[in-house]
């Protein structure tokens, strides 16, 4: 009998080679990974559900559910059902993203909501908080003792040395954080900007771009690392990018800005067109994630398992201490590829998992005015 085949769409940050290799080893499934970092992946997901089985999504649940590109996941087929049900009544210190809690359970009217039911839209697997990163030279321009702030991204003194990410969802949130900090204003809801807010941010971005403020934009963590190597002193950064730079001995600091950070989570969804053996394979893949190995692997690039205790059993104590508890590295710690990435004695910026996640100011999301936002963002990119 031939082995079932499973087609997975994911960003490259979520499926490094060691993870793919372990999936092939641990599961009796032929898995085809389709690595798509751009909107093309999302466009394909919503228009052609028959071309994939599992989508490793982040902040697109609204869109893929509206498009019915994914099917409800039966809780009784998941090994972590109890943990998922508990999300509907989280303790305050769980710091549950509303973008999960409000969109998790299938409701009677066919829409998503927070009331528990037998089916969920997604299996949350990872989470984290992103802030910008900078090189020590920034301190020469800004001052040694100044608190880290998103305002640095718009600071005149750093003109020509600032990098941003090109994604409109994430980029606009970071630019909004920078706008608030540099102009001393506060938006009513930075996670759901109004048209006037978007205009304010977009106008600021376009003006800065015309002044030559930005060194460049990037769309995945490898490009982010290269941009910093090419001379961006301060820029948006995904944790794996910083881990990569450190491995290559570039000194880079991940900021813990006074305003807080941009939170994210990533989740596994099953295509609405998947059925039969492929559906069984999809559930097997989800349960493999739920069991902890993959999120432990990605913890080594700075991500947190959505349910940390499950990853813990796959991490050494000193890895857990460094990545989750914010303690100094007891030894040189490896990245997901097994390369030494964290030097002995290094302390993770921002502290423990609970402390860092507690500083999330805003969660990645497609805002209500995304259609408007994305057009203004394009105006900025083309300016």
């Amino acid at each position: 009998m031939s082995r079932p085949r499973l087609r997975v769409i994911a960003r490259r940050e979520f499926v490094p080679e060691p993870l793919k290799a372990e999936a092939a080893r641990a599961l009796d499934i032929d898995i085809v990974f389709d690595v798509v970092d751009t909107l093309d992946g999302l466009r394909r997901v919503v228009t052609a559900p028959e071309t994939f089985d599992v989508y490793h999504q982040w902040h697109t649940i609204d869109l893929i559910w509206t498009s019915r590109a994914i099917q409800p996941i039966a809780l009784d087929r998941l090994t972590c059902a109890a943990a998922l049900r508990a999300i509907s009544r989280p303790p305050l210190n769980a710091l549950s993203p509303p973008t999960v809690t409000r969109k998790l359970f299938l409701q009677a009217d066919g829409e998503l909501g927070s009331a528990p039911s037998g089916h969920v839209s997604m299996l949350p697997v990872l989470r984290g908080v992103d802030c910008f990163a900078y090189q020590p030279a920034v301190r020469d321009l800004i001052g040694a003792d100044v608190r880290e702030s998103w305002g640095w991204l718009f600071d005149d003194r750093l003109r020509g040395h600032v990098g941003l990410l090109s994604d409109p969802v994430l980029g606009m949130i970071e630019a909004a954080l920078a706008t608030e900090a540099s102009r001393n204003i506060s938006f009513d809801d930075i996670g759901n900007l109004s048209i006037e807010d978007i205009d304010l941010v977009a106008d600021a971005l376009i003006q800065l771009k015309k002044l030559g403020h930005f060194r460049g934009v990037w769309s995945n963590y490898e490009e982010a690392a290269r941009l910093m190597q090419r001379g961006a002193l301060v820029q948006s950064m995904f944790t794996p990018g910083a881990t990569r730079l450190r491995r290559e001995k570039l000194s880079v600091i991940i900021a813990s800005p006074i305003e807080g950070g941009r939170g994210w989570h990533s989740d596994l969804c099953i295509s609405s067109a998947t059925h039969g053996k492929a559906l069984d394979a999809a559930y097997a893949y989800l349960n493999w994630w739920a069991e902890g190995w993959p999120s432990a692997c990605l913890s080594r690039q700075g991500y947190y398992a959505f349910f940390p205790e499950r990853a813990r059993s796959y991490l050494e104590q000193d890895e857990w201490d460094y990545w989750y508890d914010g303690l100094p590295a007891a030894r040189a710690l490896p990245d997901p590829f097994g390369e030494p990435a964290i030097p002995v004695g290094h302390v993770r910026e921002g502290g423990s998992c609970a402390t860092r996640m507690g500083r999330v100011r805003v969660w990645n999301t497609f805002m209500d005015e995304h259609t408007y936002l994305v057009r203004r963002w394009r105006e900025f990119l083309e300016a």
Binding site: T66, D368, E369, T371, Y372, L373, V374, E382
Partner: protein, 329 residues
């Protein structure tokens, strides 16, 4: 007929009335008097009279106006020139509208508006006055009139550099039109309710029932047909024409729904069909109040669906095949 403009209609009408003897030979025709008799503006009448003269049906009077027949000598007594005394066949002009043919701008307005509405979920566009002229083979005057009407309806605006700009469509614009639509459309429906033919209502409900029972996926046209019947045809029977005009002008959401179906495919629309069915059931029972409430509830629920769909459209770049629209962002 359309391409020749309505002077040609006037020409045919006059010629036919002359042929039948309803306008006797020798009748003195003045442009203003003919225009008054036909309740039209003078320019097409003047042009029609000129043409009839070229054809030899009329001759120019040496002092003023034209004379029916071959020579000015036939010109009759001054008393004959009250055209209102003549029993004319005006059936060519009787289309129920104040003007016999819709003016040129009116016929292309709807098409341009649909083009604009289908483009704006995908970005900001410049709309070109000359582009409209070229595409529809119309004059600058007509093109300007179209844009001025769209401006009044709130679909276009002038940029600081004096270009006509449309889009992008925001969630707020959907919210705002919905806010007005949920007030006006049920009101229009309630007014129209008592006059809708019961047979037509039963047929509409029957069509919805057929769609609800279907196992396969519905087509875009089938859903659009049901939506047009409920949201255009029924409220269109309201006697308050101002209200009807506004109701029609507020129908932006159905365009978004259609575009979503074109890009993503038609999904299970049973909620929409159920909501339609409730409205029709109330109408059939002659419960206009209930029908109005059911329609409002359908509009509210549909608004949430449309809003979510607009978000999905944000990841697409629609091909723009209209030469008078140029994408800016």
């Amino acid at each position: 007929m359309r391409s020749k403009g309505y002077y040609s209609l006037v020409r045919t009408l006059l010629k036919e009335n002359i042929r039948q003897g309803r306008i006797p030979r020798g009748t003195r025709l003045y442009t203003a008097a003919v225009a008054d008799r036909l309740a039209l503006s003078p320019p097409p009448v003047r042009r029609a009279l000129d043409q009839l003269m070229e054809e030899g049906v009329l001759v120019l009077h040496p002092q003023h106006g034209y004379v029916v027949g071959g020579t000015t000598q036939e010109a009759g007594q001054p008393g004959r020139e009250n055209l209102h005394l003549l029993d004319l066949d005006l059936s060519l002009l009787e289309s129920g509208k104040s003007t016999p043919l819709a003016p040129r701008w009116e016929t292309i307005l709807e098409e341009v508006k649909q083009g604009v509405l289908r483009a704006i979920p995908f970005g900001t566009f410049q709309i070109s006055e000359t582009g409209i002229c070229d595409h529809f083979s119309v004059s600058r005057t007509v093109s300007r009139e179209v844009l001025a009407r769209l401006d009044t309806q709130g679909h276009v605006e002038k940029s600081r550099s004096s270009h006509w700009i449309v889009g992008p469509l925001s969630a707020r614009a959907l919210d705002e039109t919905h806010e007005m639509r949920r007030l006006l459309e049920p009101q229009a429906l309630m007014d129209a309710a008592s006059r809708v033919d019961q047979k037509r209502l039963l047929a509409m409900r029957q069509e919805i029932e057929i769609l609800r029972r279907r196992d396969d996926v519905l087509t875009i046209n089938e859903i659009a047909g049901a939506e047009a019947a409920l949201h255009r045809e029924l409220p269109g029977g309201c006697r308050n024409r101002r209200m009807v005009a506004n109701v029609m002008n507020l129908q932006i959401a159905p365009v978004v729904d259609d575009l979503f179906r074109e890009h993503i495919g038609v999904q299970d629309e049973s909620n929409l069909l159920d909501e339609h069915d409730i409205v029709l059931a109330h109408l059939i029972r002659r419960d206009s109040e209930g029908a109005g409430q059911a329609l409002r509830r359908h509009l509210d629920l549909q608004h949430q669906r449309t809003r979510a769909r607009l978000k999905v459209l944000s990841i697409f770049d629609a091909p723009n095949d209209l030469p008078y629209l140029t994408r800016i962002h």
